[in-house]
């Protein structure tokens, strides 16, 4: 099988901190999930493949080339950072045009390509608004769009669904699937298994700078199901939502923090829970401002695997 990204005994340390420890891996075309808790080495992994870091030991190649200081390689990949990264005062169109120009597009071509990609990501009606006025989902979409403007072969997504609402999550999952079926290679880093699982079966499980497992999503899934899955929700009517969620079989426990209108839900079947959650929100018109899934359960699996 063709290999796009290759790690040969790669280690990377920052002073006395080891971020990656003797990793050897070949990443084939398609979607690959990079899964691990915070501090597992996922960001270092992405920094190495994008050439922002040099390995302390070993060799990294992307499309057969050393990515370090290889600006030409950036034409072949797109990068979606974890944090928001925009010039907030710029309009969506100006931001995208600027990003396209940095990729070497002429001004007119950059504008045309930007409008095309904004249309594809359902942002065309908001293209003249400043990015600061965009919703979380729209911001995430424009972040994805800037990485795709030059039609790259490889796409790196760093925690792409952090802080997204369920609709935004589904849109992102759909987009990744579309891109994958269009022949793109995508590396998605996340600390949430079911998010990655919705996009791919190919998984690299990282912990403490090491690769614990690779391409075994079903087995990981089995282990995950042994542990309750935590979901935090911020909504305007926390109590009302809690009483409805308790009707579902998969929900084990709910904690309500009234002051903050915050719910902490434990479910034994996360996928089913998220489907039910979307339906509950839509049917009852809840104003949900935040949904997140802490990695406690994944941490437990890692502890189990490390033993």
């Amino acid at each position: 099988m063709k290999t796009l990204i290759n790690f040969e005994n790669v280690s990377r340390w920052y002073g006395e901190v080891i971020a990656l420890n003797d990793i050897s891996i070949n990443i084939p075309p398609g979607v690959t999930g990079l899964l691990g808790p915070n501090g597992a080495g996922k960001s270092t992994f992405l920094n190495l493949v994008t050439g922002r870091l040099n390995p302390s030991k070993g060799k990294v190649t992307v499309l057969g080339e050393d990515p370090r200081n290889n600006f030409k390689l950036a034409r072949f990949y797109g990068f979606v950072p974890e944090q928001d990264a925009y010039y907030e005062k710029l309009s969506g169109l100006d931001f995208m045009t600027y990003m396209a120009q940095l990729h070497g597009f002429e001004r007119k071509a950059a504008k045309r390509a930007s409008m095309e990609i904004l249309e594809r990501h359902n942002l065309i009606t908001h293209m003249n608004k400043p990015v600061a006025a965009y919703s979380k989902g729209m911001r995430q979409r424009i972040k994805l769009a800037q990485a795709l403007i030059h039609d790259p072969e490889i796409l790196y997504l760093d925690e792409p669904m952090n802080g997204m609402d369920p609709i935004g999550r589904n849109e992102t999952i759909d987009l990744v699937k579309k891109l994958s079926s269009a022949g793109k290679t995508i590396i998605v880093s996340s600390h949430i298994l079911h998010e990655v699982e919705a996009m791919t079966q190919q998984i690299i499980l990282m912990h403490n700078g090491k690769i614990l497992a690779e391409g075994i999503v079903q087995e990981i899934r089995g282990l995950i199901d042994e542990y309750p899955h935590n979901v935090i929700i911020h909504t305007d009517r926390a109590r009302e939502m809690a009483s409805q969620l308790l009707n579902y079989d998969d929900v084990i426990d709910i904690n309500i923090e009234d002051k903050q209108n915050r719910l902490k839900v434990q479910s034994k079947e996360p996928e089913k829970f998220y489907q039910n959650l979307v339906a509950t929100i839509v049917e009852n018109g809840y104003n949900v401002t935040y949904i997140d899934s802490p990695d406690d359960n994944l941490q437990s699996v890692f502890k189990y695997l490390v033993k």
């Binding site: 990003m99 079926s181 269009a182």
Partner: protein, 291 residues
């Protein structure tokens, strides 16, 4: 062979493979800076000396050469251009703060640095792109009006001998303008790279220039050793006029009082610029480590 569904349309355009990669950064920076109304007013205000010098030049051209004892200030000599650039150099101080204090730390705050470095740009491209923003504004109030004054003089009072004798003034204008602009630009970018707040970088820039000036003056008046004048960054920058305009620089009011040995000053400035460049490069290339 895998068969891909063509559900994601490819963009059919072509990418430029040559050209100045950092130019879009500069263009965007200039465009955004000009959007600030107060800055625009200041920029226009900086051109007032140009108008005054242009009027002086026109009056000088109207005075018949036969008139003896014409006032000295109406004579157009190389020191006329040096004096103009000397005045404009004082505006550079504010121009640099206004256009450069937030250029890199602004990217830290908006996390834009990681976007730049995931594009086909090197760290040097990024630095050059940012540097050129400040340099553009600095050159727009020094080099451009000075060259325009030279052209204006040639147009309204063409004198072949004067033109040939003073042709060296053009490279002198280019040289001093570029040197002063680049030094200030690198210095503010360095401060912008090591701070996370544009106000802090602006204040630090101000303090360093004023402090080195004050210390240099104080020590010089105590010890009367001219080498002590090189402690002041401003003195060193002003001393460059001596390199580019030679003896004509001495006719600039305040020149002799404020300047150190030009070559010694230039050497210090080169070291400072190299240091600033490496600090910027180091900061731009740094990766935040989450432990």
């Amino acid at each position: 062979m895998p068969i891909f569904e063509q559900t994601y349309r490819k963009w059919e355009g072509t990418l430029k493979t040559t050209g100045i990669r950092w130019l879009p950064i500069t263009k965007m920076g200039i465009k955004q800076t000009f959007k600030k109304k107060r800055f625009l007013l200041f920029f226009i205000g900086c051109q007032i000396p140009f108008l005054v010098f242009a009027i002086r030049l026109i009056i000088g051209a109207l005075v018949p050469e036969s008139i003896e004892n014409a006032p000295e200030f109406l004579k157009i000599t190389p020191s006329f251009f040096a004096h103009f650039l000397w005045i404009q150099s004082s505006f550079i101080f504010i121009m640099t703060i206004w256009s450069g204090a937030n250029l890199i730390n602004g990217d830290y705050q908006s996390n834009a640095l990681q976007l730049y470095l995931s594009k086909p740009l090197t760290q040097l491209d990024y630095i050059l792109g940012k540097l050129s923003i400040v340099a553009f504004f600095n050159l727009a109030i020094t080099m451009v009006p000075a060259i325009l004054l030279f052209i204006l003089h040639v147009l309204i009072k063409y004198d072949k001998n004067w033109f040939i004798q003073n042709l060296w003034v053009i490279p002198a204008i280019l040289g001093i303008s570029l040197a002063v602009s680049v030094i200030h630009s690198l210095f503010i970018l360095c401060l912008s790279a090591i701070t996370t707040n544009s106000r802090f970088s602006a204040i630090t820039y101000f303090i360093i220039l004023v402090l080195t000036d004050g210390v240099s003056d104080l020590l010089y008046h105590l010890r009367r050793v001219s080498a002590l004048l090189t402690i002041s960054i401003s003195n060193n920058i002003y001393s460059l006029f001596g390199i580019f305009f030679g003896k004509h620089a001495a006719k600039i009011p305040d020149y002799s009082e404020n300047t150190a040995d030009p070559y010694y000053g230039a050497a210090i400035l080169i070291v400072l610029c190299v240091l600033c460049y490496f600090v910027i490069k180091k900061r731009v290339g740094r990766i935040e480590v989450i432990q």
